[in-house]
C-alpha cells in the first residue's frame, strides 16, 4: 500500500537488485540471469517448457545460487525463436530447444563459455554474433513502446517499479494539473498508433473540455488486422505501462473509470493484464485515492468476441455496452458522448505504451525522434516472404527499403521482391519504386496505402496481386457489420467481380467497374472499415494493372496462383514412369510405361497431384502453363 511518492521511491530502491544484472551488461558476476522469451511466437515453440526445464536443471545441478531463469516479453526476433538471453553477459541465443538447456547450463553458466552453435549466424558474413546490438535486425531499431519487452518479467510489478515505473503517474498526480498534462502530450506530437493518426493530446483535450459527472478512459486492445500482433506483445510483455498510461489519461481528462477492451482470442495477454491490475491495486496504484492524491481510478476488462469492426471506436463502445458492434455516425465524437453517453477517450495499446516514458523523458525528447509531422517510433509486424520475421520498432521517417533489406534481411529464398502491404485490410500495396519513401502517416497515404496498425507483409513474385486483393476483400465482406449499404452490398459486389476475374470469367470493363464502385464506397460508407475497404483493390490496380489484364484478357495468372487459370501439361521430358497417372485422383492421365503420358484437360481438376508425383529432375516433366 503506497501512501505517497516517497513510498514508491522506496520500493524502487529496494528492488534495484532485481534489475542489476540486466542493467549492467558485461560486468563480471558469479551469478547469471537467464531470460526466456514468453511472446506468442516463442510460447508456441515451447518457450514455457524451456523455462521450466532450466529451473528443474538449475536445481538438479545445484546452481540455485549461480543462476535463475524466468520469462520476459517479446524480443521481437520471432523468426529465430525461441530466444534465450543470458545476463549480464548480454548473450543472445536463438532457436533454443529443450534439449539445449543442459548444454547452456554446463558450458555457459558453469564453464563460462558461450554455446557457439546457438548464437545467431549472420547470413552476410557467415559469422556467429553473440549480442543483440551487433545484429542487423536490431541495429536500426529504436525501442520505445517495446522498451520493457525482453527486459522485465511482465508478472512482477516490482521489476516495473524498479525500472522507474509509475513514477510518472505519481509525479503528475501530485504536482501537475490536467491541462499541463494535455499540453505536454500536444508538445510531444504523439499521434494514434491504431491507424488514423489523430493527435492524442487533442483527443484528451476535447474530453477534458466536455463537462460530465462521469468520463471513461478506454484502451482499444481489439487488434484485428490479420498480420499485426504488436498490441498483443505489448500487453503480454509490459502490461503495467498500459495501466500507468490509462491512469495518467484518466487524470488528464477527469475519468475515474477505465476499460480495456481486449480480444478473447488473446488468453495470455488477458492473464498477464489481470495479474498486473491486481498487483497495481495492491500497491494502491489503482483504486481509491491513489497515493493519497485524492484521485480515484480503476480498470475493468471487457472481452471482444471476434469482430474486426469493433476496432472502430464507436463500434467498440457499442460492444462494451453489450450490443452488436455496429458503428454510429460521428459527430458527436466519443470525447463528447461515448460510453453510456459520457465523454470517453479511446486509445490504442501502442499509443498508450509511449505515454509513461514521454513524461519520464519529456516531450522534447520524444518529438526529437521521427519526422516532421510524425513523431516517435512505430512498431511493425514484419512478416510474409522475408528472412527476419518479427516485431520491429523503428523511428518514423525510416524508409521501407531499410526495414525490408537491412532489418528484415531481404526476401526469403533469394526470390525477387514484388510488393509490400501496409495497413492491413485498409491499406494498400507498395512497389519497388516507392521503397525509398520515408515512413510516416502522410507519405504512406500519398502512395495509396496507410500506416494502419502496423502490419507489414512482404510479397515476392510467387504472390498473385489479384488474389491478394481478393483475400482482403474476402476479409472485409466477412467482417462488414451490415449496417450501411455502401459497405454491406458494395464490398460484396467488389468481391464478386474479383472472384470472376480469378476464375477466368473477367470482362474487359471489370477494371472500370472496380474503380468506380471503389470510389463510391470510399465516399459513402459510414465508418473507417467501409471507407478504406477498397484500398487494397485501388492500389493493386494502380501498380499491377498488367497483372489484372493478364487475368482478364489473356486468362492467365502470371504468378501461377489462381487455380482456374492454370493448366497442367506433360512435356517431352516424360520418362513414362506412370507415377503421375497413379497419383491422379480422377484418372485424367493416360499413357504406356516408358512412353510419354498425356493429360485429358476435360477431366483434369487441377489438383496438382501429378506435379507433386513427377520424379523427373531438375525440371519436372509435368508443366504448369
Amino acid at each position: 500500500m503506497l501512501k505517497n511518492i516517497e513510498d514508491l521511491r522506496k520500493i524502487r530502491e529496494e528492488n534495484q537488485g532485481l534489475l542489476f544484472l540486466r542493467k549492467n551488461p558485461n560486468i563480471t558476476s558469479e551469478k547469471k540471469e537467464i531470460l526466456v522469451c514468453g511472446g506468442t511466437g516463442c510460447h508456441s515453440s515451447q518457450s514455457k517448457e524451456i523455462m521450466e526445464a532450466f529451473n528443474v536443471e538449475i536445481e538438479k545441478m545445484n546452481l540455485t545460487g549461480k543462476a535463475s531463469c524466468h520469462i520476459t516479453g517479446c524480443f521481437g526476433f520471432c523468426e529465430k525463436g525461441p530466444i534465450v538471453k543470458v545476463y549480464p553477459d548480454d548473450v543472445f541465443y536463438t532457436e533454443v530447444k529443450i534439449s539445449d538447456v543442459g548444454e547452456i547450463l554446463k558450458t555457459h553458466i558453469l564453464g563460462g563459455q558461450k554455446v557457439d552453435r546457438l548464437l545467431y549466424l549472420d547470413p552476410k558474413s557467415n559469422e556467429r554474433i553473440d549480442t543483440q546490438h551487433h545484429m542487423d535486425f536490431y541495429r536500426k531499431q529504436v525501442r520505445i513502446a517495446l522498451r520493457n519487452c525482453g527486459l522485465l518479467d511482465p508478472e512482477k510489478i516490482e521489476e516495473y517499479i524498479a525500472n522507474d515505473g509509475y513514477m510518472a503517474l505519481a509525479e503528475l498526480l501530485l504536482t501537475k494539473q490536467p491541462i499541463d498534462i494535455i499540453n505536454t502530450m500536444k508538445e510531444s506530437g504523439l499521434r494514434g498508433r491504431g491507424g488514423g493518426g489523430f493527435p492524442t493530446g487533442s483527443k484528451w483535450g476535447m474530453a477534458l473540455r466536455s463537462v460530465s459527472d462521469q468520463k471513461y478512459m478506454i484502451c482499444n486492445a481489439d487488434e484485428g488486422d490479420p498480420g499485426a500482433f504488436m498490441d498483443r506483445s505489448i500487453l503480454e510483455g509490459d502490461p503495467h505501462s498500459i495501466i500507468e498510461a490509462m491512469a495518467i489519461g484518466g487524470y488528464a481528462i477527469g475519468a475515474t473509470k477505465g476499460v480495456v477492451y481486449i480480444r478473447a482470442e488473446y488468453p495470455l495477454a488477458i492473464k498477464r493484464l489481470k495479474i498486473a491490475i491486481d498487483q497495481a491495486r495492491k500497491y494502491n496504484l489503482l483504486g481509491k485515492n491513489i497515493m493519497n492524491s485524492g484521485f480515484d481510478f480503476d480498470i475493468d476488462i471487457k472481452y471482444g468476441a471476434g469482430a474486426f469492426v469493433c476496432g472502430e471506436e464507436t463500434a467498440l463502445i457499442q460492444s462494451i455496452e453489450g450490443h452488436r458492434g455496429e458503428p454510429v455516425s460521428k459527430p458527436p465524437y466519443p470525447s463528447e458522448s461515448g460510453l453510456f453517453g459520457k465523454p470517453t477517450v479511446v486509445n490504442n495499446v501502442e499509443t498508450l505504451a509511449n505515454i509513461p516514458i514521454i513524461f519520464q523523458k519529456g516531450a522534447a525528447w520524444f518529438s526529437s525522434i521521427g519526422s516532421e509531422h510524425s513523431k516517435g517510433t512505430k512498431v511493425f509486424a514484419l512478416a510474409g516472404k522475408i528472412n527476419n520475421v518479427g516485431l520491429v520498432e523503428v523511428p518514423m521517417g525510416i524508409t521501407l527499403r531499410e526495414i525490408i533489406y537491412e532489418i528484415g534481411g531481404g526476401i526469403k529464398g533469394g526470390h525477387a521482391f514484388k510488393s509490400v502491404q501496409t495497413g492491413g485490410p485498409s491499406g494498400g500495396c507498395i512497389t519497388e519504386s516507392n521503397l525509398d519513401t520515408p515512413i510516416d502517416y502522410e507519405s504512406l497515404s500519398k502512395i495509396g496505402s496507410m500506416m494502419g496498425s502496423g502490419g507489414m507483409i512482404v510479397m515476392d513474385e510467387e504472390n498473385c496481386m489479384v488474389n491478394i486483393a481478393k483475400f482482403y476483400l474476402d476479409f472485409t465482406v466477412e467482417e462488414s457489420c451490415g449496417k450501411c449499404t455502401a459497405c454491406r452490398i458494395g464490398t460484396k459486389r467488389l468481391l464478386e467481380i474479383l472472384n470472376r476475374i480469378v476464375e477466368g470469367k473477367g470482362e474487359e470493363d471489370d477494371l472500370d467497374k472496380l474503380t468506380k464502385l471503389s470510389e463510391t464506397i470510399k465516399d459513402t460508407a459510414l465508418c473507417g472499415l467501409g471507407q478504406t475497404a477498397p484500398n487494397p483493390i485501388l492500389s493493386t490496380i494502380k501498380y499491377f494493372q498488367e497483372e489484372y489484364k493478364a487475368h482478364i484478357i489473356d486468362k492467365r495468372c502470371p504468378s501461377g496462383v489462381c487455380k482456374d487459370l492454370l493448366r497442367y501439361e506433360i512435356g517431352d521430358a516424360c520418362i513414362g514412369c506412370t507415377k503421375c497417372a497413379r497419383a491422379c485422383p480422377v484418372d485424367a492421365i493416360s499413357g504406356k510405361v516408358r512412353e510419354k503420358h498425356f493429360i485429358d484437360q476435360a477431366k483434369c481438376i487441377k489438383c496438382g497431384s501429378c506435379y507433386t508425383a513427377c520424379p523427373v529432375k531438375p525440371v519436372k516433366a509435368v508443366l504448369i502453363v
Partner: protein, 158 residues
C-alpha cells in the same frame, strides 16, 4: 427442463450471473462464460440467459450471430484452426486448409459426422514467425506444409 436447471454447467452459469449481478451490458461476458461451459450457445441456453438477465431472445440472438467467436452449433472434439492471417496466407495457408478439407471430407466451418473434428480458420494468432500456422485445440503447429496434414490429424485423440 427440470433436468436442464440441475445441469452443473447451468448452475455454474447462474452463479456467475448472480456474482456479477449481470445486466444487459454484461451480455457478452455472460455469453463468453456460457460458451466456455457448454462449448456452444444452444437455443435452450439462449432462452435461459434471456430469462435470467431480462434481455429479449431476439436481441441475444442478434449479438450471438454478430460475433464470430460465438457458435450455435456443437463443435468437434478436435477443433482444427488454420490461420488465415495475411502472413500465413502469403506463405500458403490456403493450400493447407484445402488439404484438411479434402482429407477429412468436410468444408471449413463444418464438423465431421462422428463429431471428432471441426475445421475452421482464424485470423492471426500472432505467431507470424512460424507461418503458416495450424492450431489444433490449444496446440500450435508452426511452419506447416500440406505433407504434414495427415500426421497432424493422426496425432489428434479421437
Amino acid at each position: 427442463m427440470c433436468n436442464f436447471s440441475q445441469n452443473p454447467n447451468v448452475i455454474e452459469l447462474d452463479n456467475f450471473i448472480e456474482e456479477i449481478n449481470a445486466k444487459e451490458t454484461d451480455l457478452i461476458a455472460v455469453l463468453h462464460r456460457a460458451q466456455n461451459l457448454f462449448g456452444y450457445i444452444s437455443e435452450e441456453v439462449l432462452s435461459h440467459i434471456s430469462k435470467k438477465i431480462g434481455v429479449p431472445k431476439a436481441s441475444i440472438y442478434g449479438v450471438v450471430s454478430f460475433y464470430s467467436y460465438f457458435t450455435t452449433e456443437p463443435r468437434g472434439k478436435n477443433v482444427i484452426n488454420v490461420c488465415m492471417g495475411t502472413a500465413c496466407f502469403v506463405r500458403g495457408s490456403e493450400k493447407i486448409l484445402r488439404e484438411f478439407e479434402s482429407q477429412l471430407r468436410i468444408k471449413s466451418g463444418e464438423t465431421t459426422i462422428d463429431k471428432n473434428f471441426t475445421i475452421d480458420s482464424l485470423r492471426c494468432v500472432g505467431a507470424c514467425g512460424l507461418a503458416p500456422v495450424v492450431m489444433v485445440n490449444d496446440k500450435v503447429y508452426g511452419r506447416a506444409e500440406t505433407s504434414d496434414v495427415a500426421r497432424i490429424i493422426s496425432e489428434c485423440e479421437v
